[in-house]
């Protein structure tokens, strides 16, 4: 984008004090919704003395310099005045500013770039065609639904309706994909995720990098296959402890993870749905078995999420209807390896009519299902199979022994705060003396 270069020309190096460090750096956006505040680094003693007040007798010798607008300066002299006097950088390109100065405020779609306008006209014609296609496809779907078919051909009709709906969704996205206003709105973070085009762009952005990092972390740290055999993440998650974001796989201090976190779960398909969140630790040391066991640190169901309502505060969930196992702080005993705390997002199955989602009875689970109301030995795969859940998202943080772990365990009433794990001594193999004729 040419804007970046122009911003750099005026701001120079951010750290350099030779060029008046107090000058603010214009961020990379075409709009300036809030003018950047002037950073006054000078002390009052060093500020220039105010100009002499103008009285009726003597006109003010020092006329105040003309105030320049950052959106309309187009000559180098005016830009210099803006920089020196108002200490702000101009917005956008010089051509844009000249156009705005000569014609007033022009909406983005009417900017006087010939190629841009020609392309816009072409795309608008294309968009009208696609809108017509959408209308026709909707009509055809309705007609097909009304058509009577013999019962043995019902499956053909259903398949056809499903494919036509899929085609309709594709056309909806194609109609908006070429719109520069849509692209700009999405990049500015103002896209409405109730609309399919913004959901698709957000999904694409997540899959381009952050999902790859997530899958790499859960694979290299062996969360898959230790907890679940396989997972295809289709919702993106963020985990926040005490107001601070935790990257996938980060170590979290035991005192920070003492209280339940908050999560944002972002689905990229339309409609509300019910999710179950399970936090499982697969690294519980088991000395009798000389291996590791599982422990469930949190289990809650019937959490409603939509593409626009994504925030979940785990400590604010209903303890009667939603929470099966309340939050148990993550802890790693001294000497044990680091504990991986995996957070799984499981989608609850749809109701028989396909309209809504089935609710999981938390109270009933606590009362009648001992396998899933016990923390120790919690098998997530068994839980997923029992309630026909679909794993859609995963997150991960790690914990290990630190100074606060003992306190956290004592406050939570967990046994074993004073347990230390030490390496088991392995008996050395007996020395095998080889035949002395050939060997010494």
């Amino acid at each position: 984008m040419p804007l970046d270069r122009r911003a750099g020309r005026f701001a120079r190096c951010i750290q350099c004090t030779r060029h008046d460090r107090s000058l603010p750096v214009r961020s990379f956006s075409t709009t300036a919704p809030a003018r950047l505040e002037v950073l006054d680094s000078q002390t009052p003693a060093e500020a220039a003395p105010p100009p002499p007040a103008a009285t009726a007798d003597t006109p003010n010798p020092n006329t105040k310099p003309r105030a320049r607008d950052a959106n309309t300066v187009s000559t180098p002299a005016a830009e210099g005045q803006l920089l020196r006097n108002q200490r702000t950088t101009p917005v956008g390109s010089r051509r844009r500013r000249a156009a705005i100065a000569s014609t007033g405020s022009i909406p983005f779609s009417q900017l006087p770039y010939q190629c841009f306008q020609e392309a816009r006209a072409f795309l608008q014609v294309d968009r009208q065609e696609k809108l017509e296609h959408i209308r026709m496809q909707r009509q055809r779907i309705e007609n097909l639904k009304l058509r009577a078919v013999p019962p043995q051909d019902e499956w053909i009709k259903e398949n056809r309706i499903r494919d036509m709906k899929h085609r309709l969704e594709e056309t909806k996205i194609a109609a908006d994909m070429n719109d520069p206003v849509v692209k700009r709105r999405f990049e500015d973070g103002e896209g409405d995720l109730n609309k399919p085009i913004y959901r698709l762009l957000a999904d694409r952005q997540w899959r381009a990098y952050r999902r790859k990092v997530l899958v790499q972390r859960i694979t290299t740290m062996n969360v898959i296959p230790d907890v679940l055999p396989a997972i295809e993440p289709i919702v993106s998650t963020t985990l926040t402890f005490a107001g601070k974001r935790v990257q996938h796989g980060d170590f979290v201090d035991s005192r920070v993870s003492e209280l339940a976190p908050s999560m944002t779960i972002q689905p990229y398909d339309k409609g509300p749905r019910l999710y179950t969140i399970a936090v499982v630790n697969p690294d519980v040391p088991d000395v009798e078995k000389d291996g590791f066991g599982y422990r469930c640190h949190f289990l809650a169901s019937n959490i409603e999420i939509t593409p626009t309502s994504t925030k979940v505060l785990l400590h604010k969930l209903q303890s009667e209807t939603q929470v099966v196992l309340p939050w148990l702080p993550a802890y790693g005993q001294m000497g044990a390896p680091y504990q991986r705390m995996s957070v799984f997002i499981l989608e609850q199955p749809k109701t028989e009519d396909g309209a809504g989602f089935q609710r999981l009875d938390a109270a009933k689970t606590r009362a009648e299902e001992p396998r899933y109301s016990r923390r120790e030995g919690f098998n997530l795969l068994s839980f997923v199979d029992r309630f026909a859940l679909k794993p859609v998202g995963v997150d991960l943080f790690r914990t290990k022994w630190d100074e606060g772990t003992a306190g956290v365990m004592q406050r939570a009433g967990i046994q074993g705060w004073d347990v230390e794990f030490k390496r088991k001594r392995v008996e050395p193999l007996p020395y095998k003396r080889l035949a002395t004729v050939r060997y010494r």
């Binding site: 350099c16 004090t17 030779r18 008046d20 460090r21 002390t43 060093e46 062996n222 296959p225 230790d226 907890v227 055999p229 396989a230 697969p282 040391p285 088991d286 000395v287 078995k289 000389d290 291996g291 590791f292 001294m334 000497g335 044990a336 074993g416 004073d418 347990v419 230390e420 794990f421 030490k422 390496r423 088991k424 392995v426 008996e427 050395p428 193999l429």
Partner: protein
């Protein structure tokens, strides 16, 4: 005279010295050993390095045991094994050795791994939870030593906590502006009980002073700003520098002379 010349010529033909090199017969040289005997075959004829398998499949090993010695990676370290700096495969856990292939991990590589029981085999089934070995025992941590309470001397009169009488040391000091620091200095209390500026402040002080001086229309620079193409300015600058250096040298020489005189 002629006879002397004849005698001289006759004797000179018999002399070893003064003979031109061309007239001497060439002597052929031959050494006992030749170059090919130096390096060509020595590399193949050295002592054997005892490479190969040291523990066969199924043998019980303990952590650290060498399983396979090799040049390069004929075999790779699989489950619970590790590779040393010379590609030696060592055991990481006590168990039984297994030699296997794992196409899911790599299509052509061969692996050496360790299982914990004799009936287990490698590779582990795909998508199954891994078999893992703890190898630790749980111990009770020793109780922290409680220091014996220090008995206060009788008659001290102290029964409850007394706040310190002296006021707390301030953590920042603001120095007044001086000629060297026209903006004043702010010193903060740092670890080690020293009051000093932060390192970044020290690093930027020169630039800050220059910016402050320029705001007043002055400069702290010894030399003017470089203007490319202005040869006169460049000559003036170098002349100034040369003059300064000469002055400094003259001062130094004067001091030395003074010392020598003493």
């Amino acid at each position: 005279m002629a006879t002397l010349a004849c005698l001289e010529s006759a004797l000179s033909s018999l002399r070893i010295t003064n003979k031109p090199a061309a007239s001497l017969p060439r002597i052929t040289l031959r050494n006992a050993s030749h170059q090919a005997q130096g390096r060509a075959n020595k590399a193949k004829q050295g002592p054997g390095k005892r490479l190969g398998a040291k523990k066969t499949g199924g043998e019980y090993v303990i952590p650290g045991n060498i399983i396979f010695k090799q040049r390069g990676t004929l075999w790779f370290a699989g489950d619970n094994c590790f590779m040393g700096r010379d590609h030696t495969i060592h055991a990481g856990v006590p168990g039984y050795v297994r030699y296997y292939r794992d196409p899911a991990r790599h299509p052509t590589r061969k692996f050496i791994g360790i299982v914990f029981q004799k009936d287990q085999s490698l590779p582990q089934p795909t998508h199954a939870a891994r078999r893992r070995h703890l190898g630790l025992l749980a111990y009770q941590m020793p109780e922290p030593v409680v220091e014996a309470e220090i008995e206060e001397p009788l008659g001290s009169g102290l029964t409850s906590y007394q706040p310190p009488s002296a006021p707390r040391q301030p953590t920042t000091i603001n120095l007044k502006p001086t000629t060297n620091n026209p903006q004043g200095l702010q010193l903060t209390l740092r670890p080690g009980y020293q009051y000093r500026q932060s390192n970044y402040e020290i690093g930027r002080s020169a630039e800050r002073k220059e910016a402050a001086a320029q705001a007043k229309g002055k400069t702290t620079r010894a030399y003017n700003d470089y203007k490319p193409g202005d040869r006169f300015a460049a000559w003036r600058k170098s002349a100034l520098r040369i003059a300064r250096n000469n002055e400094r040298k003259a001062m130094g020489r004067g001091n030395k002379g003074a010392k020598a005189k003493k």
